[in-house]
């Protein structure tokens, strides 16, 4: 098997603090690979180390067969990267940002022109090419950054939280671009994310990272199966009777009753709800409310670590990104 990235016993310490701890990982060519984990897990540190922006404390890695310690130049030529935090020049136009990038990678005029148009097409920003980036929305900036990461035909593209702070619609579009560039440009993609559904939709394989260690590595489906089934919660008029009745059915893997709340573990929860409603009706049980919960990163995480990711974190970080952007706009006006 040809690997796009090989990581061996990679560690990174900041002072006494170990951000990345003895990671071993191979990422296949053509794969969309996800690094999933809570704040401070070490995802960004791994990506920056692979991108030669940080020196590992020990261990080593090869990116597209180039040693990240000895062949930094070759590694840099092989990769594109979209950073977690904004990294565009807001005082330049979108096109100028791409032009800067292309020149730094030594593309000649003809290549530059063609490629800029290509990547603008890909992220559907053609009509904004000549607008100053400070007038872009957050989503447009993100798409510009993705376009820029692709300018120099990288073999491996790193996307550090590509959809953080984007609305659901823009998020879907970014997913579509990632799928498309992976297919059309044959780019190996390594992305980090907080969102299980993102990893689920995009990634061929996912590594769950916590405290700088890989605690699980598999296809998204297998990870989800490892956690188990969907949870249906019902508030019913006669919980005791109804639960006795339901216990006959095979499709209910597990059942818990709290007062008049009934929690059922099932597979394919959305398909089971109508059936359960029907059973309730037949039994003369009145259902006040019903809700379905799919396993999330939270549950995956709980399963593998025994603790939850604090809920606030993702949204706090989104606010940070927004704040950074706002201050950048203000700074740009100086």
């Amino acid at each position: 098997m040809e690997y796009a990235i090989e990581i061996e016993e990679l560690s990174k310490k900041f002072g006494d603090f170990t951000a990345v701890s003895n990671i071993n990982l191979n990422i296949e060519k053509g794969e969309i690979f996800g690094l999933l984990g809570p704040n401070g897990a070490g995802k960004t540190t791994i990506i920056k180390t692979l991108a030669t922006l940080l020196q590992p404390t020990s261990g080593f890695a090869e990116v597209w067969h180039h040693n990240i310690l000895k062949e930094q130049d070759a590694v840099r030529r092989s990769i594109g990267i979209v950073f977690q935090d904004p990294s565009v020049d807001t005082e330049l136009t979108g096109r100028e940002n791409l032009d800067f990038h292309a020149r730094m990678y030594g593309l000649n005029r003809e290549e530059r022109e063609r490629r800029i148009n290509e990547v603008f097409d890909l992220v559907e920003l053609n009509d904004r090419a000549k607008v100053f980036v400070k007038f872009y929305s957050g989503g447009m900036q993100r798409r510009l950054e993705i376009a820029r990461g692709l300018m120099h035909y990288p073999k491996v593209l790193f996307l550090d939280e590509p959809t953080l702070g984007l609305d659901a619609q823009t998020r879907r579009r970014v997913w579509a671009y990632v799928k498309r560039l992976n297919k059309e440009e044959k780019v190996t993609v390594v992305l980090t994310t907080h969102y299980m559904e993102e990893a689920d939709y995009l990634c061929d394989r996912v590594a769950i990272i916590d405290h700088g260690k890989i605690i699980a590595l598999d296809k998204p489906n297998n990870l989800k199966n490892a956690i188990g089934e969907d949870i249906i919660s019902l508030r019913v008029s006669d919980g005791g009777n109804f639960s006795d009745m339901l216990s006959k059915f095979e499709f209910i893997k597990e059942m818990k009753l709290h007062d008049d709340f009934l929690f059922l573990s099932v597979e394919n929860g959305e398909k089971m709800i109508p059936r359960i409603m029907h059973l309730a009706h037949e039994d003369g049980v009145f259902v006040h409310s019903v809700s379905l919960r799919k396993p999330t990163l939270e549950d995956v995480f709980l399963h593998f670590t025994g603790r939850t990711i604090r809920e606030q974190e993702a949204s706090a970080k989104e606010q940070n990104r927004m704040k950074a952007k706002a201050s950048m706009r203000m700074g740009g006006k100086r």
Binding site: E91, M104, G331
Partner: protein, 257 residues
């Protein structure tokens, strides 16, 4: 990786130029103080004093103008290091640092950019001075003044770059810059002739590279010098070369977060 990558140096320079010309209000702001100095200090002292060593035909405004050009070059050169701090603050430094371009070339691009903007501002002050009656000795003098300006600007852009490499925040940068620029400015011969200074003060000005810069400018523009142009240029070239080496050395250790 090519150590000196001319395409990359040009690219970085081009970006600095675009940013410079798009921020015209900043340009006007940075010229206000030196103009104030030139006009009011010049006129005020012109009427109040006659420096005894002044050659005939040279008044204080003529004496002061090259000094103010030196000041503009000094201030704008050192503060051009800000661009690195800005880039770091707004994340663009990461984008630059992850490209396959050597740190030396990046530093040289930044230096060239800062030098050009400082030079343009120095020239603008010269133009304004000429506009209000400052007389230049000749074309040859103008030419050697440009050389002096380039050397002054490059040296102090490098100093700014060194500060920006070791300081991460704007406040810290401003603090260090003003800590350095004012003594360098005051202890050059920009405002007063060196002849009558007490000996200890004279020695202080002699170890200040800007003294030689201003002296070279003054000789080139009005034909008056404390040292000789040869010595001035010699000191400037040495200082400039030293600063370029030092700044590329410091810039290599820049970390991006």
């Amino acid at each position: 990786m090519k150590l000196i990558d001319f395409t990359a140096i040009y690219t970085i320079w081009l970006r600095e130029m675009k940013r410079f010309f798009r921020a015209r209000s900043r340009l006007i702001g940075s010229l206000a103080m030196p103009l104030f100095f030139l006009v009011f200090l010049g006129m005020g002292f012109n009427a109040a004093f006659k420096f005894s060593d002044m050659p005939p035909g040279i008044d204080y405004i003529a004496f002061l103008a090259p000094g103010i050009i030196g000041m503009v070059l000094l201030f704008n050169s050192i503060t051009s290091g800000m661009s690195v701090i800005w880039d770091r603050q707004f994340g663009f430094l990461k984008e630059i640092m992850v490209t396959p371009v050597s740190r030396v070339s990046i530093a040289l691009g930044k230096t060239l950019g800062g030098m050009t903007t400082a030079l343009l501002q120095g020239f603008l002050i010269l133009l304004i001075a000429v506009g209000i009656g400052f007389k230049i000795t000749g074309v040859l003098g103008l030419l050697s003044s440009v050389i002096c300006m380039i050397l002054i600007a490059t040296s102090f852009v490098c100093l700014g770059l060194i500060f920006a490499s070791i300081i991460n925040d704007m406040q810290g940068f401003h603090l260090i810059v003003s800590l350095f620029t004012f003594p360098i400015f005051i202890l050059s011969s920009a405002l007063f002739p060196l002849e009558q200074l007490p000996l200890w003060l004279k020695y202080l000005t002699y170890i200040n590279p800007l003294t030689y810069g201003v002296d070279g400018l003054r000789y080139s523009l009005i034909g008056m010098a404390h040292f000789s142009l040869t010595l001035d240029l010699f000191v400037l070239v040495c200082f400039c070369a030293f600063m370029i080496c030092l700044s590329t050395y410091f810039f290599r250790s820049v970390e991006v977060n």
